[in-house]
């Protein structure tokens, strides 16, 4: 009975070797790189030989966060993804509740203390919890559950419900305000709809509309958000504009990143350079600048390579998975992680405005670290169960009647093209 229950929870026919191991490998490499970079950015000097290993409190905490993240990844990978799917919606509602709670004005400051102006954290004694981070994951689970066997997202009206599912948490996070986090919902929904079979022309239209809507949203932005966008535009026109003001952080980050040149500088010199060149959030959002100071262009490329390993693992997992839910979860999480990485790297290197987004696995932060490991755990879970026997005989995922059948060329229309267009539109 117990064995049956366990098999029911865990599933059977688990695959020991699969692509998600690459995610674990990439994630571990990035996490360790992050721990070292945080140490570089927070401890002034290298300990002398024979000294006790000197680590700042932040480094120790980050190591703990990493271990907790690994544990969380392990735990989330144990139950079968169908159980995960079952708790997706309740989890989403719970997190939406927490996001609403964060915005309530009279919540005491000791419980919700604004950081850098954002009401994004709930203070739980020694642990700070950021519901927005988990909401991204929950959103992917909910969206995957919604899209897995539907066809209506291949029509314009059918896109409304997914958009609404994304809008609610994204809007709540925007109000915190944490625009960076909110922006991550867009690539996730886009990628999931794309692979779920949404029509390309619809997606293009949505992108065009969104692109047009971005300038329209400018008047509704907060003053500091506007200032950052204006600062970036000024910096494009004049590389040194606002170096003492709105672009100070970006200029400092670029200077320190560039200072690494090809191969970087020594450990001690990196610490010294960062000690005397003030770079706000160097252990957090700006951690890439520390890595590039230390390891130069090669270090930056190596880090991107580690992300590449993670993405490769995720894509292999998605490609080999036979379950629509699993496939969509992996794609959604990958899109979020990619977007977050791209935005962070872009803002450190001065090609995107600074919007306060951490570098996954690398930046300091408990919730961030645990969340990316949870994401890795979920992908690992999908990867482990890619050949689940129940699905062997099932129809391949995302095959639609108006598409060529699996392994076949698209049949030539035998009716008039106009009618054909109407039928397939």
């Amino acid at each position: 009975m117990t064995r049956s229950l366990v098999r029911s929870i865990i599933g059977h026919d688990l695959t020991p070797w699969h692509g998600a191991w690459l995610c674990v490998l990439g994630g571990l490499g990035l996490s360790l790189l992050g721990v070292y970079a945080i140490d570089l950015g927070t401890v002034d000097v290298t300990p002398k030989p024979g000294d006790m290993v000197s680590m700042s409190g932040l480094v120790l905490r980050q190591v703990i966060y990493m271990l907790v993240g690994l544990l969380a990844a392990g735990l989330i990978a144990v139950p079968h993804v169908r159980w995960i799917r079952m708790i997706a919606w309740p989890l989403m509602w719970l997190l939406i509740g927490l996001l609403v709670f964060l915005l309530i004005p009279f919540v005491p400051v000791w419980l919700v203390h604004p950081r850098n102006g954002a009401r994004a954290w709930i203070e739980l004694g020694p642990i700070d919890f950021q519901p927005g981070e988990l909401a991204k994951v929950a959103f992917v689970l909910v969206m995957a559950d919604y899209l897995r066997y539907r066809q209506n997202h291949r029509t314009i009206p059918g896109l409304v419900v997914p958009a609404l599912i994304a809008f609610i948490p994204a809007a709540l996070i925007t109000l915190q305000p944490d625009l960076g986090m909110a922006l991550l919902f867009a690539p996730a929904i886009f990628a999931m709809l794309l692979v779920a079979g949404a029509k390309i022309k619809h997606m293009v239209a949505v992108v065009v509309i969104a692109a047009c809507a971005v300038p329209a949203s400018y008047p509704f932005m907060k003053a500091h958000q506007k200032a950052r966008i204006v600062g970036l535009i000024q910096m494009v026109k004049d590389p040194n504009a606002g170096a003492d003001g709105i672009n100070f952080q970006s200029k400092q980050a670029q200077m320190l990143a560039g200072a690494g040149e090809w191969w970087g500088v020594s450990d001690a010199r990196t610490r010294i350079l960062h000690k005397y060149n003030e770079l706000p959030e160097r252990h957090n959002d700006m951690i890439l600048a520390v890595i590039m100071t230390r390891f130069g262009l090669m270090g930056g490329l190596a880090m991107i390579g580690l992300y590449g390993v993670w993405f490769l693992g995720a894509f292999i997992t998605a490609a080999t998975c036979k379950d629509a839910f699993g496939q969509l979860v992996v794609v959604g999480l990958t899109a979020i992680l990619f977007a977050q990485t791209f935005i962070n790297v872009g803002m450190v290197l001065g090609i995107l405005p600074i919007i306060g987004l951490t570098l996954p696995f690398v930046s300091y932060g408990g919730t961030s670290m645990v969340t990316v490991w949870l994401m890795t755990g979920l992908i690992f879970s999908v990867g482990m169960r890619r050949l689940s026997g129940a699905y062997w005989l099932s129809r391949p995922t995302f095959e639609f009647d108006d598409q060529p059948k699996y392994g076949q060329a698209r049949p030539q229309p035998k009716i008039a093209p106009a009618l054909s267009r109407r039928r397939t539109g």
Partner: protein, 802 residues
């Protein structure tokens, strides 16, 4: 398209897989941009960015140097640095930015304590919060500056002015840095092959001076410095502006008390005992104690604490030639020489700062030791200088308009009411005296009166500068151009003999007026005053020595005529007069730059210490009538007392020209003027006769005594000193002045400049050349002669003559 799609479906039959591949490719494409930017920052700009980052790893601190001494020929210290204390204040406190920074912190904290997030506030709300938070800090600064002024013993306005000076200098330094950056960017832009108008870079460059403290009070006495030292560590009792957990504020934020030096002028004012028993009979008395302010002030100069743009341009922080930091560059709060040797020898006196460069990355400290400024030894004798300056003290009466100065001329008619007036009796006269050692060319004294002390300069600068009549800042000895008048006659005689235009045996008749048909023009002074001629008075025609002794104009009109424009021109060019000759550069100034703008700027900068050049028309511009007139030192010709003393020194050396020197170590040019000995002999004979023989124009003066009687007395009264002298009364244009007798309106006055140049020595050997000019004094013999006599007495008193 359809065919391709079919082929893709063939290889990747599942739509999910195809779109997954598309997604992966899109992501890979997105990664290209950050990778390219990484390459740009690290490879293309890496070197520059690393250099920028490493700038902060070097911490430089300066050690002040001490300025070299100025000492006189006898080793007396005329200017010296003494240890003292400077008070410096952080630039952000001087500008008030300190209050802004404090206010920003407090405003943010206050809002966050109230649960309001700062970044969510609108700009207006932020401005209001900042304004409210700034108020107490602004008040704190205001109280600080009042206390600062009170402690320094200065007015609030003086302190404000010093703050403004520092801010202006730092802003100018910033503008220079911006300009340098703009040029660098432009060079890079052009080097990149771009054309057209380069993009404007509006980035503000932050220079080190904006992060440093600047000296507001320099060279403070110990008691004031220590008072600031006590205030430095005092803090308010309350926290800063009522912020919870705020720290008490320092009473004087950003205050630094620094060891430094103070420039002192030990002989700035001297007491001189003047023996008036050798004065003209109406002024005779006993010993008079005279306080002489500003001894050799025009020679020594002073320091000014305000730096101008030209100063910063002249010696910028980075030497444009070497690209290295010039340790002698000017920093806000520095002093700079103004006038005299302090200005002329600024670069030598100034010295070089020391710099301690700490490399924060390695902990290594580089120390460049400071280099004290070099001492400058002058040829001036401060005691002699003080004695001569004392002669100009109005209380002695020697240089004030006296009744015996005037000569009643037989043809004087009652002046017209509109005619220029004579200077009122009792008016203090200005002038200049130069004493040169004949053998060495050393300038023993160079007096320009009125002078001014450092104390007067500090408290009455504006009123001194505004005094257009006295022109106190003007160094008359080298900068005021006077027509020479009759004192040039020995030089003209020498040139005429040298050029073969006159033979020493030749005698020339004094006819009273040079042109037979023009009795009112080109007259001899004796004809003009007494309607007679020198020939009639002497009973014979005049040779060269007679003409010098009697100062016969007709003889020298003839010499001017014979020499012609070229010859008369060369008389003066060989003594450094006019643009065609080498000017007398006693301050050792460098050549003026060629570029017109820089030339004008440099001329303006060196105004108080310029070379002595004089004005002399080019030969082509000198007509025959001018040449005749120039024979008696009138016409298109001016020079300075330094020229006069130096020319007479050359005669005393028997025609050897030596450039006069003010610095003991100055290199001199010596060359012969090829004047025949017989010319020198006749000239010296005439000069000796002028001072010692009957009919000599500087022999005897008839004084009007207070009791109405008249008393004749020799001009030169030193019993053991032999004198060769020539007086001159140089006609000049009327001038306007207000001597207080009118209703505040300037009146027009007319008088001549009084010259007396003499050689003083023992036996047949002249040892010292003395040039004395009294501005608008009138008769050279009557006014300047007694002054020259007292200069000889001063030389005796100082042991130069027996």
């Amino acid at each position: 398209m359809e065919a391709r799609r079919v082929r893709l479906q063939h290889f990747i039959p599942n739509m999910f897989h195809r779109r997954l591949l598309f997604l992966a490719m899109a992501m890979a494409a997105c990664a290209v941009l950050p990778i390219l930017q990484m390459g740009r920052l690290t490879v293309a700009k890496g070197e520059e960015l690393r250099a920028d980052a490493q700038k902060r790893l070097v911490n430089e601190s300066w050690t002040e140097t001490s300025r070299g001494r100025i000492i006189d020929r006898k080793g007396r210290e005329l200017a010296v640095d003494r240890p003292s204390l400077d008070i410096a204040v952080d630039y952000k406190v001087i500008t008030g930015r300190w209050a802004d920074e404090k206010a920003a912190r407090v405003a943010r904290k206050s809002k966050e304590a109230a649960g309001i997030t700062w970044v969510t506030l609108s700009q207006e709300e932020k401005d209001i919060a900042l304004k409210l938070a700034r108020e107490p800090f602004a008040q704190h600064l205001s109280a600080m500056w009042k206390l600062f002024a009170r402690t320094a013993g200065m007015t609030d306005e003086q302190i404000e002015q010093r703050k403004r000076d520092v801010i202006e200098q730092v802003q100018y330094g910033n503008a220079l840095a911006m300009e340098q950056k703009r040029k660098r960017d432009l060079e890079k832009w052009l080097a990149a092959g771009n054309m057209g108008v380069p993009p404007q870079d509006s980035t503000r460059v932050v220079i080190q001076e904006e992060r440093q403290a600047h000296v507001l009070l320099r060279g403070l006495p110990d008691e004031v410095g220590l008072a600031f030292d006590r205030l430095k560590d005092m803090t308010t009792e309350e926290d800063d502006a009522g912020v919870p957990g705020g720290k008490p504020l320092p009473i004087m934020p950003g205050l630094h008390v620094q060891d430094s030096t103070r420039r002192e002028y030990p002989l700035d004012s001297m007491n001189v005992d003047v023996d008036t028993s050798t004065f003209p009979p109406p002024l005779k008395g006993g010993m008079h104690a005279v306080r002489v302010p500003g001894v050799a002030m025009h020679v020594i100069g002073h320091l000014r604490s305000r730096l101008y743009d030209t100063d910063l341009d002249r010696r910028p922080r980075i030497d444009p030639l070497t690209g290295k930091v010039d340790l002698g560059h000017y920093r806000p709060g520095d002093s700079i020489g103004q006038g005299g040797v302090e200005q002329a020898k600024e670069d030598e006196l100034r010295g070089l700062r020391g710099v301690r460069t700490k490399h924060l990355d390695t902990g290594v400290e580089d120390l460049t030791s400071r280099m004290a400024g070099r001492d400058v030894t002058l040829t001036i004798d401060a005691a002699l200088q003080a004695r001569i300056q004392a002669l100009f003290d109005p209380s002695l009466g020697l240089t004030v308009v006296q009744p015996w100065h005037r000569i009643k001329k037989p043809d004087d008619a009652e002046p017209r009411p509109s005619a220029p007036k004579e200077l009122p009796v009792g008016t203090a006269l200005n002038g200049a005296v130069v004493v040169i050692d004949v053998a060495s060319g050393d300038i023993l004294a160079m007096v320009s009166m009125p002078s001014y002390s450092h104390e007067q300069l500090e408290f009455s600068r504006e009123s001194i500068a505004a005094d257009a009549y006295n022109k106190t800042f003007l160094n008359r000895a080298i900068k005021n151009l006077y027509p020479p008048g009759s004192i040039v006659k020995p030089l003209v005689l020498c040139e005429a003999i040298k050029e073969g235009k006159y033979s020493p045996e030749e005698h020339i008749e004094c006819t009273g007026h040079f042109f037979a048909d023009k009795p009112l023009l080109y007259r001899c002074w004796i004809y003009k005053q007494f309607h007679t001629t020198h020939s009639a008075k002497l009973g014979h025609a005049l040779d060269g020595s007679d003409a010098i002794r009697c100062s016969c104009n007709i003889f020298f009109f003839e010499m001017g005529k014979r020499l012609g424009p070229e010859g008369i021109h060369s008389v003066f060019t060989q003594y450094g007069v006019g643009a065609d000759s080498e000017p007398l550069n006693i301050f050792g100034l460098p050549q003026l730059p060629e570029e017109p703008k820089a030339r004008a700027a440099e001329r303006s900068r060196r105004w108080p210490i310029d070379v002595a050049d004089g004005d002399l028309a080019k030969p082509a511009k000198i007509g025959p009538q001018d040449a005749i007139l120039m024979g008696i030192g009138q016409g298109p010709l001016t020079w300075t007392p330094l020229h006069a003393a130096n020319a007479f020194a050359a005669i005393a050396r028997h025609g050897e020209y030596v450039t006069p020197r003010l610095y003991a170590d100055a290199t001199q040019e010596r060359h012969t003027l090829n004047i025949p000995d017989r010319a020198i002999t006749q000239a010296l004979k005439g000069l000796h006769g002028s001072a010692n023989e009957e009919n000599g124009t500087t022999h005897v003066i008839a004084y009007a005594m207070p009791d109405g009687s008249k008393k004749n007395e020799s001009v030169f009264t030193s019993p053991n000193v032999n004198i060769w002298a020539k007086s001159g009364t140089a006609d000049t244009i009327p001038f306007k002045a207000d001597f207080g007798q009118q209703d505040g309106r300037d009146e027009q006055y007319d008088s001549d400049h009084a010259w007396c140049v003499c050689l003083a020595g023992v036996g047949d050997s002249p040892k010292y050349a003395i040039a004395c000019v009294i501005d608008y004094g009138g008769s050279g013999g009557r006014v300047a002669g007694p002054v020259a006599n007292q200069v000889v007495h001063a030389l005796v008193a100082e042991g130069y003559l027996p």
